[in-house]
Every structure is written in structure tokens, then in C-alpha cells.
């Protein structure tokens, strides 16, 4: 990830209701939005942002950009993202929800070949409090600090950020990976980014039930992450055997399901415990655990 306070940002789908709303909020936060793209609306301006018909065209006018945030309707997202990749953009956040999984399969393949950092879909994007906002994180819940927050949720991420902020714990970065079946980027990628980030002292990982990516994250943390991590999983009391959320949309058939336990909160919590990662039982417990860890490491530093 390569984002600074003055990074140049493009918004694709800026004329969509969601794009229009959040272009204004992102700009108000201070994000350097240099252009918008919305085919058929080229030549207009929105919130003083020039709008173009093509990504290519936008880049001719404003030069290379550091990232694109996509708000296009679900069936147009694949094309918009491929257009951004073809134009050389290597950091892309897809906010829109409802993207068919097979579109993501093709997009992920293209992102892998071109070494593109892909975030989302169906995600709130990235916020570096006090610096830059790419997506829908509500600014009022965040404050600058040293807690790195990674999550698969949107509103639950805001909730946790709010808990931290209210407890006096600012954030170095907040990122929502999206809770769809096929995600553009994974926990390990962002754990790595936070592990290397100078501002981050402790990482809070917020998971959901379904899938196996929290289990994989727990193993990855044990192996590769030096900074302290605490985890929280929602859905401990979720009824078993029901598919919940987008995450459940892709189910394997009974036969394909390799172990029925994978995907439950129990399985995820057990994986974290095995990796010696403290697990909060409820959002309000997170700030307590973070404080404990910060105290410990402050102690060590002495």
C-alpha cells in the first residue's frame, strides 16, 4: 500500500448516488480527489471535481493517480476495474456491493498478473485518520493514533473504531476488506502492511463467521507478524447451519465441505487462541485489551 495525505485519487462511478454522496465526504475529509469518471458524463464537474468519460482521458488531464475508488453499479464494476488496471492504476478499492463472484474471479486474476492491490468489493475502503479517506468510513468515528484496524465488515468496523476513539485510542489505519465470498485482498496482505507501517503499534482484527479467512489469518499472524494483534469475532451465537450474509452465498456442496466446523465463531476463536492472540468477547472489551498490550510494550521499551 502506498497512500499519503496528498495521494492523487480517482473516483469511478462518481455520478452514481453512492459515488456522489461519498465523493463529497471524501473531499471534505481532505482527500485529494483529482478526477471522476462516469461514461457519458464527461465534461461535467461535481463538487468541483472534473468528470471524464474514460479513465485514460482522466489521466491525460490530471496525470497518473495513486488509487481509484469504484462506486459503479455491480455489473459494471469488473469493467471499471479492468479499465483502471489497463490505465496503469495499481491501487483499487471497490465499494459497491452485489458483484457476482465470477466477475471477481476474473478481476483477481488480472490483479495478480499486474501486481495490483485490490480492496473489496462490498467494503468501506480505507481511512488513514487525519490524512486520507478512500471509501465510506464515517469520519466522525475515527481519530489519528496507533491502532491498526482490519475488518471484513463495514458498520461493525465503524462501531469498533468508535469504541477505540471513545476510549482515547486513535487509529493508524482502518481498512474493511469486504465480506463477500471472493475478496480482492486478504487479511495476510493487510496484516503485512500494518506490520511494516511505522505508525501502527497494535493491530485489531475484526472477523465474521463464514469462510476460513480468519483461521488462515491466525496462522499467518503466528508465523509472520511481529506486532501484537488482538481479535474479535462477531457471531458467536449465530444459529448453526444457516448461511448468513454475502459470505454465505458461495457454499460448497455437502460433499465439498471440508469439515463442517470451519467458518463458525468457535473455529475462528480457537484458531486465534492457538496462535496466542487475545480474543475480545464484545466490542467494549477491545479497548481494554489494546490498552493492556500498549502498557506492556511501553514497559518493554523502558
Amino acid at each position: 500500500m502506498n497512500l499519503k495525505a496528498d495521494s492523487k485519487v480517482l473516483i469511478q462511478g462518481i455520478m452514481q448516488p453512492l459515488g456522489t454522496t461519498h465523493a463529497a465526504l471524501m473531499k471534505a475529509y481532505g482527500t485529494n480527489i483529482v478526477a471522476g469518471v462516469s461514461p457519458g458524463s464527461g465534461g461535467q464537474t461535481l463538487h468541483e471535481i472534473p468528470v471524464f468519460d474514460l479513465v485514460e482521458q482522466a489521466l491525460w488531464h490530471v496525470g497518473a493517480v495513486d488509487a481509484s475508488v469504484i462506486f459503479e453499479p455491480p455489473y459494471l464494476v469488473l469493467d471499471a476495474a479492468l479499465e483502471a488496471i489497463a490505465a496503469g492504476i495499481r491501487q483499487i478499492a471497490i465499494i459497491t456491493e452485489g458483484i457476482p463472484p465470477l466477475d471477481m474471479v476474473r478481476l483477481v486474476r488480472s490483479a495478480e498478473t499486474t501486481d495490483t492491490l485490490l480492496l473489496g468489493p462490498n467494503c468501506p475502503g480505507i481511512i488513514i485518520p487525519g490524512k486520507i479517506l478512500l471509501g465510506t468510513h464515517p469520519a466522525e468515528f475515527y481519530t489519528p493514533g496507533s491502532v491498526g484496524l482490519i475488518s471484513r465488515s463495514s458498520t461493525l468496523t465503524y462501531e469498533i473504531a468508535r469504541e477505540l476513539t471513545q476510549a482515547g485510542l486513535g487509529q493508524s489505519l482502518g481498512v474493511g476488506l469486504g465480506s463477500d465470498a471472493i475478496m480482492g485482498s486478504s487479511f495476510p496482505q493487510w496484516l503485512q502492511i500494518l506490520d511494516e507501517d511505522d505508525k501502527t503499534e497494535v493491530i485489531v482484527l475484526v472477523g465474521e463467521i463464514g469462510g476460513a479467512c480468519e483461521e488462515a489469518a491466525a496462522r499467518y499472524i503466528a508465523e509472520a507478524i511481529d506486532k501484537p494483534v488482538i481479535a474479535y469475532i462477531a457471531g458467536y451465537h449465530a444459529p448453526k447451519g444457516k448461511t448468513l450474509g454475502h459470505a454465505g452465498a458461495i457454499i460448497s456442496s455437502q460433499v465439498a465441505d471440508l469439515g463442517a466446523d470451519v467458518g463458525t465463531a468457535e473455529s475462528k476463536i480457537a484458531a486465534f487462541r492457538e496462535a496466542k492472540i487475545p480474543v475480545a468477547e464484545r466490542p467494549s472489551e477491545i479497548p481494554e485489551l489494546v490498552k493492556k498490550i500498549l502498557k506492556k510494550s511501553a514497559h518493554k521499551k523502558k
Binding site: 448516488p17 462501531e159 475484526v206 465474521e208 488462515a216 451465537h237 448468513l244
Partner: protein, 378 residues
């Protein structure tokens, strides 16, 4: 969305996957116009598994037996589901039965081909022999051949089974499916292949670009948009409505930690639809409240709404609008409301809701505790 067997087979037929001659039976009397020669199999068309063991599949030799069997099957619920339709199908003499499937593996983010030389109803045996091939790049038929060789097939079966897998993959990718499964694929003594039973799960989010599948879907009961989830539980008297799946789960957990019992819960959906507006969000809140209060066991409704696109006050006014329209019936039922909102214009929201005697909180745990308290009193 799961398709019924006969619908799945219609897709197979379009793709050139061999299926037996069959006929849809909407009513036992349809069997009098049967065009398939006896003996036939009558199969209950339900979405749940285990119909064979439950008696939902019957072999019959003549019209009289067929009509009687059909009547029985129409009145036989499988895991609580009654069939609306039966499928009458020719019999097939398999010498072997294979399992084949195409699914998406969410961890590696690629489609996977699955196959087992032990198909049929014995899932354990199937699983024991299961083989898989990851489709790493754009599909090409060699992936299908790889699977057949891994399954241990030889000679002509390599090509005939590969051709089926190819067609399954084509179906999977052209129609944006979550699953295509043939179980069993019957292999005759001559080495011919036949899809004897099939399962297709359609991806709900892709329905918009497959009108032919959307039409099938419209006949089914689920009317919630894909971003909403409603779950009815067996007991409890608290109903939950939250926005976002993670937040819904977190709230559910907190209610249970506080010893509350949940009757049902609803995720109202996040706010990442490309065409979301304040008006559509308010609409969702009202429709959501309507849905969760239908259940007469419910005494307490807890709304946990984290306002980002809209203000707390707007969310509150949606609750108010719902409340006022049904004020009388809600009072009769002695239904208590507890709201938790965070975001802009909290104070305005508080004013609004206090007029309705709905307690409003900013702190989630306080809201949960109040809801549980009220539920215990009820």
C-alpha cells in the same frame, strides 16, 4: 437460490448434458397424459436433501400405481417442505455412479472441479474418493481431463466424462452459478453417461443479468433482496434489526451474553448499494420492522442502526413513521421498542423518539441491557 431438479435438468439439456426423458407433474392426474413408457420413477421436487430415504422417490410400473404414488409424494413433506411439482422420469440401468461438481473455492478464489467414482446417496463413500482440480487460469478442457484421470478413469470414459465436466463448467460460468452438481452421473454397461440427478445453485447477485433464471427465482418464495438477511429462531421474544451483517451478529451476541432470548433477527443491509439514497434506507428500516414484528412471540424490538449515510434523526423518523402507522395494534400487543443510533443529529432523534416513549441510546450495551430487561418483564 437452489433450483429444483427438473429446472437443473432443463439447463443440463440446453448444455447438451444427457438427461433421461422426463415430464413435469403438477398434479397426479397429469400422469394420465404421460409420454414416457413405464416403468418410471416419480421424484419429489424439493430443495432439501434426503428425499430418497424419506420416501420421496418411487418406482412405478403402470398408471394406477403412478397416480397413487404421486398422491402420496405430494402429501409427504421432506424436512418440512411439500413438493409443488413431481418429476416423472424413465428408469436407467447404471453400472457405475460418479459424483461431479463445479464450485468456487473462496479461499483460493478460483473455481474447483470435484469428482468421485463413488457417487449416489452414500456421501461418505463419495467423500472418501473425492478428487479435485483447481481451475488456475481461463478454463480449458484439459482441466476436465485432469479430473477424470485423477478419478482413475481410463480409455473412452476419460473423454465422455470430460465432456460432461466441460459442459458443467460452461453452465457454471455462463449462468454465474454457485454450484453445478451431478450426483449421480450414471455409467451404463456400454460406457454411456447420463446425469441422473442434478443440483444447481444460482448466484443471487448475478440474477439481474440472467432474466431466464430470474424468472425461475420469481416463482420462489424468498422476496428479500440479497443484501438483507432474515433469520427466524425457534424461541425467544426479542426481535433485532441492525444494519450490516457483522453488526447484526455482534448485537445478537450481546443480547445472548445478557441472557436475552432472540425470536428473530434481521440485517437491514449495509449502505454500499451503488444506488442507495436516504429514502431507500428509510424504506428498508420500515419494511424491516414490519418483517420482524410479524412474529407474535415478539415482545421487544431492538433497533441498532449505525448511521453513516443518513442522520440519526432521519433513521428515527423512519422508526416513527412505522410506529405511528401501527400505533394501535402495537400497543395492543404491548410491543416495546428500544433504539440505538449513532451518528449525526442524535439529539434531534432523541426528541423524536422520546415523544413515542421509545428509549434511545448511544451506547450499544446499554441499549441491549434495556431490551433484555423489558423482555424479561414481558
Amino acid at each position: 437460490m437452489d433450483l429444483l431438479e427438473y429446472q437443473a435438468k432443463e439447463l443440463f439439456r440446453q448444455m447438451g448434458i444427457p438427461v433421461l426423458p422426463s415430464q413435469r407433474i403438477d398434479h397426479p392426474s397429469d400422469l394420465k397424459g404421460l409420454k414416457i413408457p413405464y416403468p418410471i420413477v416419480l421424484k419429489s421436487q424439493v430443495r432439501v436433501g434426503g428425499r430418497g430415504k424419506a420416501g420421496g422417490v418411487r418406482f412405478v410400473e403402470n398408471t394406477i400405481d403412478a397416480v397413487a404414488a404421486a398422491q402420496t409424494i405430494f402429501h409427504l413433506p421432506i424436512m418440512g417442505e411439500y413438493p409443488q411439482v413431481l418429476l416423472a422420469e424413465a428408469k436407467y440401468a447404471s453400472q457405475q455412479e460418479f459424483y461431479l461438481a463445479v464450485v468456487l473455492d473462496r479461499t483460493i478464489r478460483k473455481p474447483v472441479l470435484l469428482g468421485s467414482i463413488r457417487g449416489g446417496i452414500d456421501a461418505e463413500a463419495t467423500l472418501e474418493h473425492i478428487q479435485q482440480v483447481v481451475v488456475d487460469s481461463e478454463f480449458s478442457p484439459f482441466y476436465a481431463r485432469r479430473l477424470t484421470v485423477k478419478m482413475g478413469l481410463k480409455d473412452k470414459l476419460i473423454q465422455s466424462v470430460s465432456a460432461i465436466i466441460e459442459a458443467m463448467f460452461k453452465l457454471f460460468s455462463e449462468k454465474d452459478l454457485d454450484l453445478v452438481e451431478i450426483n449421480p452421473l450414471g455409467i451404463s454397461a456400454k460406457g454411456e453417461v447420463m446425469a441422473l440427478d442434478g443440483k444447481v445453485i444460482v448466484n443471487d447477485e448475478a440474477l439481474g443479468r440472467h432474466p431466464e433464471l430470474a424468472e425461475l427465482a420469481s416463482k420462489m418464495s424468498n422476496t428479500l433482496p440479497p443484501y438483507m438477511n432474515f433469520v427466524q429462531l425457534d424461541d425467544g421474544n426479542i426481535a433485532l434489526a441492525c444494519n450490516g451483517m457483522g453488526l447484526t451478529m455482534a448485537t445478537l451476541d450481546l443480547v445472548r451474553f445478557a441472557q436475552g432470548k432472540v425470536a428473530n433477527f434481521l440485517n437491514l443491509g449495509g449502505e454500499l448499494c451503488h444506488d442507495v439514497t436516504p429514502a431507500t434506507i428509510c424504506e428498508r428500516i420500515e419494511k424491516g420492522l414490519e418483517l420482524i414484528t410479524r412474529d407474535k412471540k415478539v415482545n421487544v424490538v431492538l433497533v441498532n442502526f449505525l448511521c453513516s449515510t443518513i442522520s440519526c434523526n432521519l433513521a428515527a423518523s423512519a422508526i416513527e413513521h412505522f410506529f405511528k402507522q401501527r400505533e394501535e395494534s402495537l400497543q395492543q400487543r404491548q410491543l416495546h421498542f428500544v433504539a440505538r443510533l449513532v451518528g449525526r443529529e442524535f439529539d434531534l432523534a432523541k426528541e423524536h423518539l422520546s415523544a413515542l416513549r421509545i428509549p434511545l441510546f448511544q451506547d450499544l450495551e446499554q441499549a441491549v441491557n434495556r431490551a433484555v430487561e423489558l423482555a424479561k418483564k414481558a
